[in-house]
Symmetry: C2
Subunit: 457 residues, 2 copies
Amino acid sequence: MANLETNDPSELAPTRDLAAMASGLAPSNISETARRWAKHCVLDWIAVTVGGVDEPLTRKLIDVALAEGAIGQARIIGHPEKLIASQAALVNGAASHALDYDDVNQRMMGHPTVPVVPTLMALADEIPIDGESFLAAFIAGYEVEVQLVDMMGLSHYDAGWHTTGTVGSFGAAAAAAKILGLDGQQTATALGIAATQTAGLKAMFGTMCKPLHAGKAASNGLLAARLAAEGFTSRVDAIECPYGFAATQAASFVPGAVRPDPAAPYAVEENLFKYHAACYLTHAGMDALQQLREENRVDPAEVIAVRQRVKPANFSVCNIQEPETGLEVKFSMRHTAAMTLFGIDTGALASYTDEIAHRPDLVRLREKVEVIGDDRLTSRMQAEVEVDLADGRMIAGFADCGVPAGDLDEQERRLTIKFHSLVSPVFGDNRASAALDACLDLDSLDDVARVFDTVTG
Amino acid sequence: MANLETNDPSELAPTRDLAAMASGLAPSNISETARRWAKHCVLDWIAVTVGGVDEPLTRKLIDVALAEGAIGQARIIGHPEKLIASQAALVNGAASHALDYDDVNQRMMGHPTVPVVPTLMALADEIPIDGESFLAAFIAGYEVEVQLVDMMGLSHYDAGWHTTGTVGSFGAAAAAAKILGLDGQQTATALGIAATQTAGLKAMFGTMCKPLHAGKAASNGLLAARLAAEGFTSRVDAIECPYGFAATQAASFVPGAVRPDPAAPYAVEENLFKYHAACYLTHAGMDALQQLREENRVDPAEVIAVRQRVKPANFSVCNIQEPETGLEVKFSMRHTAAMTLFGIDTGALASYTDEIAHRPDLVRLREKVEVIGDDRLTSRMQAEVEVDLADGRMIAGFADCGVPAGDLDEQERRLTIKFHSLVSPVFGDNRASAALDACLDLDSLDDVARVFDTVTG
């Protein structure tokens, strides 16, 4: 990579350098830690996709694909139908983002896994892919997404683009290119073909088009890599060229060396997982209260008052005082706080019902919760909580759900709970456990398609 | 349409109004003239698509579709394979733009037909579509494209977007929505789903991605309409909403009433056709010389000198003085002028060979051609020519290929020549004539799929 051998910024060629990084990334360069993070991403992806299989948007995408006869050999999570790879990538991508319960990378300003894994899963149903290659391709795609956003800063997201759809296409293209064995030049071409297809408007948040973006990114990236493999032409400087991706879609673009320190952790090692099936900005409060409850064996009947401090900016997002529906509960810091103190499984989709919004004991506890704006907090993902108890004690806690986990065993424990919570109701405990074990064993598999056997068909 | 009943600009809602216009456009509202223009567009589309069937990019797209098993019932021009509709739209769309010989609308700043007809053709292989409905859907899609660009002015194209890919997606969505019988609200949703998929960078000109944009627009629009028909949700104000299509992709956006004068001609009636298989900016010179040659029975041996005046801006595009290859000939005003005076068929793809670049009599005549920059001309699509003859006469002419044809019979005559020139070498004269007749008779057909019978399979 020329950029590593020079300090001359004119030598930087982000498209070429991202492509070289991705195509050159060998399983032997990947630490055991990075590999474990990647497995956690795949594991979580399966869980949230199973959670999204019965969403109306997923069904509609399958119906449209079936109506045009897009039958193939690529499987769909949670459904018996098999589609052609590009349609399966579209459906699985949208399904996995349907609940907005999938993982997040703060630097990417989006959801890194949903555009990439569906593409790899579709390819795995065509050609055998061993576990190490699968994880390397996933890590390469993830890294492309984050490094590309690094160069644009906030300017891309702020302009109105849904990074998951736009930048996600590049990640999917890079990952697919790797599985197809493309070299650096061909991968740069794949990134170019991705660049000219990439789309997704933030304005669509709140509609079925938001999850569609993840599916489109997956299928656009797959097409890009396949066309590049066939010798289709594109610019190999599509990101940085005049009128290119950056020029049209980012007010600021500062080309930088791609992985200037090759020994640094991969971006996948800063992935954030959601453990509550509610708005992300309610999570820190729930995390802090859950920890207090467990450490102090809090009896909700003994709670006199709860004070939860968050950034005032969160008020406009998730501060519904008296939610009436399950959906509103997801955007109520007060109600989710009460649910947490009662030990209700906030990770289960089934917990967010209209009944729970009206359950008398929860409503009584919710009325004791005060949400306070506090600008001393440095992030919207932080919460400080204080609980006054009937015995006179005041217990206090803090959580920041914007910090990647330091303890991978603990992360795995929490992801396992989430996995069972989403997968067991659909497939039963036995199949859920088998799927989980396969994910955790992914890097030792000769054919990763086996991972998907338990959650398809 | 609310906007027609009020002068209050706050009542304008471009997405809704475009959708209402498209879904409300009935065959009975379409004049015989507009219908004839639309038939000319379809006729020309078939001709240029047949011309593009053997281009490498077309073959690569077919191969990628076949490799994933995208077999279906939708036909591809010039090929025996049948694909699923979305893939057939992709392939036919790209093939029709492969030669850059397809039609143009100056207000759209792009190619109006290539994103729309492939979508309609794919649908016609699934459900019977009568000729009048087909033409009405085409005219609606075309109108959506042009009216949308009208509101953005140059700001969208100048920002780096290839309008054929971006705005073309809206046209394809509107046309498909019409065939699927969607109402105004559903069509607005389809436009929203199109808006969030739409892409295509001008930076890709000169690569296979440029034609790909037309194909992607066709398949994106088809998906948008099908999803809207299934009840998929999107914003119904996707064009004008905050962070919407216009906000992200046009520096200027002035919402206007959609077809404020319902009696005005449709935009299709200003379509421009290419009659020479060379750069569009060489066309006016060829048109002017061709007319002089025919009117004066010019013998090329008697030509002493030729002066061709064009806007100096054209020099940077197509003023190669001594072309060495067939491709360079397409960008040489001098050589194409000489070819015209010799009566060579400048509409035939086969005329642009390396041999013709070196043919001695052409080279000798080309040396007598002087191209002069002249800013008195008001458009880059104009040329003024003067020819000095051996008998002492000086004959002069002028052409403006940016002016839509006034004489539809003459247009049809020229399109017929172009049609035969492109289709006969592939399918023979008899099938070419049958295809041409079917196009010209399109509005009386019960099932337009018949039009494509002669150029598929």
